[in-house]
Symmetry: C2
Subunit: 300 residues, 2 copies
Amino acid sequence: MPADTSFTQMLADYRQRVELALEARLPAVDIEPARLHEAMRYAVLNGGKRIRAVLVYATGKALDANLEHLDAPACAMELIHAYSLVHDDLPAMDDDDLRRGQPTCHKAFDEATAILTGDALQTQAFHLLAHELPVDIDASRRLEMLETLSLASGSRGMAGGQAMDLAAVGHHLDLTELENMHIHKTGALIRASIKVGALAAPSVDRSLLKKLDHYANCIGLAFQIKDDILDVEGDTHTLGKQKGADLARDKPTYTSLMGLAPAKQRAQELHEEALASLSTLGASAEALRGISEFIVRRSH
Amino acid sequence: MPADTSFTQMLADYRQRVELALEARLPAVDIEPARLHEAMRYAVLNGGKRIRAVLVYATGKALDANLEHLDAPACAMELIHAYSLVHDDLPAMDDDDLRRGQPTCHKAFDEATAILTGDALQTQAFHLLAHELPVDIDASRRLEMLETLSLASGSRGMAGGQAMDLAAVGHHLDLTELENMHIHKTGALIRASIKVGALAAPSVDRSLLKKLDHYANCIGLAFQIKDDILDVEGDTHTLGKQKGADLARDKPTYTSLMGLAPAKQRAQELHEEALASLSTLGASAEALRGISEFIVRRSH
């Protein structure tokens, strides 16, 4: 299947690209405070899936953006994501010991360092966008990227979603409430990844932005549903975290509310809706189509 | 003393201005997630000294900036400062129960909410600068404000200083190391307050920016030395926190390293150096001179 092969290659290329870009941008461990910088690198350079970075690159390329213009936005999205994981894993939050098969940041270092690591990673995400975007991206576009990222990560975006998630433990949520929580917790950053990728392109058609945003909404929800499916069906070794962890914690999930088979059906429907919203785009959006498929097919 | 009276009035006016500006910008408690928004308001609207906001206003006015242009930068500085206090007070960090005479955020709410509150306040600071600055401030100036704030708050600024502070507990620091810690922990944000205020002005002379930065360095250090003096001499009720708290925690302080009288002498010298660096500015810088004096004379 040549299409699959080229998608797999694209994924590997973008991942490698963002790994190198992150590696180059994170503060070196010989700069003081060394332990904080070591923890920042540990929390980020840990073999994540880099879905958000891949979305930035794939969206930008679909709209003819220069790859070099996408590095800072791709890194910014991954830094925000990494900060959120470090804080979510803390004892006062989800209290997780493992992340991608390795000790979580507060286990490998200590709680105080993990709190500061998340704080400093968030700051660095904004610094990259403010400081580093090439001048041939218009300053007002760069401000719009910063606005997009900050709106998506704050109390009305990702951080708000985590607050909703914590408030939901031990409570009954219906599907609408569960969806609302995920739209904030993971969906907002996925939408922002696609928008900042598009904003780095030479020209941005606002009606196309709307379609891309719908695509983003669909894959964001599909991503979360698939996560819940993997929590039930996945293998602890492959997942890099305890299978059934959410269930054990009495967290509401799609699978617990809908059942496993309907959850799989919903993920498939969202995948198809995502593809439909790309219908006016040609071959340049092939990578975005592949990502949607990848999200619902992945095994971890 | 008419000069003192007008300074006191200016301080009260700027404080009131930033209180109203913050109140208007913080998310309302009837917006979900309500508890997070309540905690964000609790952590910010608590009668802080608002030194950073006052510095933004006073610097901007000294350079003929429009007061309306200074609201978002002033609020951004206070949001970053408030986020840092919420996280610094956490059990894994300084483990403080009182802040300005009230229960700290994690005591009034809970630890998870306090972590998210700090996170979301940081994000909102960047959002204000990206989203809200009037279009008659040039976009590249607005980006420079965002760059300034992000550099000052991250691992090579405020967050790095907190990491150095934590690493110093129980260790011997010499004066140079103590000063380096404070230059990062509190000095970076004070310098940034003055720079973003200047960047909101119609024109910015880079050589004047350098002088203002030296002023900022001096008052930043003086502020910290005075804090250490108050930790020894202050009254728990007036301070709103336990007197001798730093000493009890075996934290290095100026007073423990230098002795009380030499610490007071150094604060006075820094005050005089701050005034000297404003010598080319006329009456428009009177407020900045008053702030320097206020910092070394304050009783809490």
